[in-house]
Symmetry: C2
Subunit: 185 residues, 2 copies
């Protein structure tokens, strides 16, 4: 296989498409984000990288809480809108119907099938971005997106983000913790 | 929409399927991981959450380097194998053909279309897991997976991970930083 170096750049193969929810001066604001993942199993934590210049930073500073929300495919226009427009220029509080959970200051869109409220555990200064690590305090889900009481990807229809494009989830390739049993040296 | 709470758990809608490469006592080891994302744009950084009990932790401690590697769909059996078997019980150095880049101590599988070498920037103790933040030192790519000099998802065919299952990438839904222009209040 011919290999070449393409230089350091912020590359990741596939990413989730999410909305970060914060309150700024008591008003909900939502920002589109893809640089997020699970940070810990016990206690359950998530992390999300946010540019220091973003309006969302004000909200996390103010309340030490934020939400990570999973929009479904059909919400792609509203979701992308929240990445095109800054809360410092335009009020985005009306893009979704907001609700609050146990934290009271982490707004979540009712329209999102799964929403996660987090309390700030730590923020790490990385350079252009702050990596916010949040403890998951509660997860809210539409009853219509559950199978056996758990969020079901086929019902959620989350959006995959890669190379400036939103994709659906494709066909099942294999079951994890199972396919590897076929491995022979 | 009827909402219920499903309790705190380490949930993320979709994740990348990756192989974390480290040297332990001079020998390559690969671990399957999905809890990873971009941590910073400038300088480019990645982060990955790894259970403290993992053999991979020894390698990062030893060298302060690691690689994050993108397997393609056709590598799903070998990839899952690296999540089923621990390097403390079984030598995984022969699962892939390893090569090294500028860091010399972060092994990368030749078989992966895209491989990323990182130097450790910071590790954050979260609980069961350590969140490793790495500075991207170089990205290596198969020439066959590039379009206009950039890694192309249609040629890479990365694996999406969600609810214990490996998926392909689905159909394009919309272009990012564009679809949102259709938004009307």
């Amino acid at each position: 296989m011919d290999k070449i170096t393409v230089g350091p750049m912020p590359f990741m193969s596939v990413m989730p498409t999410l909305l970060v929810g914060v309150n700024v001066k008591g008003k909900p604001n939502y920002m589109t984000a893809a640089w997020a993942t699970v940070a810990c199993m016990a206690p359950p934590m998530l992390c999300v990288a946010i540019n220091k210049a973003r309006y969302t930073v004000k909200g996390i500073d103010e309340n030490k809480t934020f939400s990570l929300n999973v929009p479904s495919e059909k919400m792609v226009v509203e979701t992308d809108h929240c990445g095109l427009v800054s809360g410092s220029n335009e009020d985005k509080s009306g893009v979704f119907r907001s609700f609050y959970g146990k934290l009271k200051t982490a707004p979540m869109p009712e329209e999102c099938p799964v929403t996660i409220e987090c309390s700030l555990f730590k923020s790490v200064e990385c350079g252009s971005h702050l990596l916010y690590i949040g403890k998951i305090e509660e997860i809210h889900a539409d009853t219509s997106c559950l199978t056996d009481g758990k969020p079901d990807i086929e019902k959620i229809r989350p959006i995959v983000y890669a190379q400036h494009t939103y994709f659906g989830v494709g066909k099942q390739v294999e079951k994890a913790f199972s396919a590897g049993k076929k491995y022979r040296k």
